[in-house]
Symmetry: C2
Subunit: 104 residues, 2 copies
């Protein structure tokens, strides 16, 4: 048994992404952000679909073509379609933000 | 956007299980227990594999052939192989226990 809130390095230069489970057609990842956000002008444009839930911390997500930033708090989840361009505007500067993502 | 800790009926006669995401080869479910446990003598014996994380509450899980009860607290996750017989000995009587399960 492991814990998703444990075994996190204190100092994270970059976002930390680890595969927790992988099988035919999907993978489950833990992503840890430490105040990280997408670089200016960068958009994720993924060939896979993603279901993502935020489990600790908070984050601001923006979809291309939408002005509003979607604020995610613990327990919030949403679906990102393939090639649905999006970026992380900010993550909590006070604590690690922990995401669980299913890419499929 | 939805929240995994929200939209839970106050009174749950039985465990509540909902599919949050389903695609080829896997499905993601939210399971809500309200002090529920497996009936005496009952064992889950599933043809699918399961990756499960407890997100709220607590639970005691037992695998067939093992005397020890595994206590899960928020963030704890584990993998259950197909036909790995197991049962839920108890869930938190004080609050709803919320699980996220990936069946594949």
């Amino acid at each position: 048994m492991q814990n998703i809130f444990s075994d996190i390095p204190e100092n994270l230069k970059d976002e930390l992404s680890e595969i927790l489970l992988q099988s035919s057609g999907f993978r489950v990842e833990r992503i840890v952000s430490d105040g990280h956000c997408s670089k200016a002008g960068f958009w994720y444009d993924q060939s896979e679909r993603e279901w993502v839930i935020l489990l600790q911390g908070s984050a601001g997500l923006r979809f291309d073509g939408q002005d509003d930033i979607i604020v995610l708090n613990p327990g919030d989840y949403l679906h990102i379609d393939r090639h649905q361009r999006h970026r992380v505007e900010w993550t909590d500067p006070q604590q690690k933000t922990i995401w669980l993502a299913v890419h499929y």
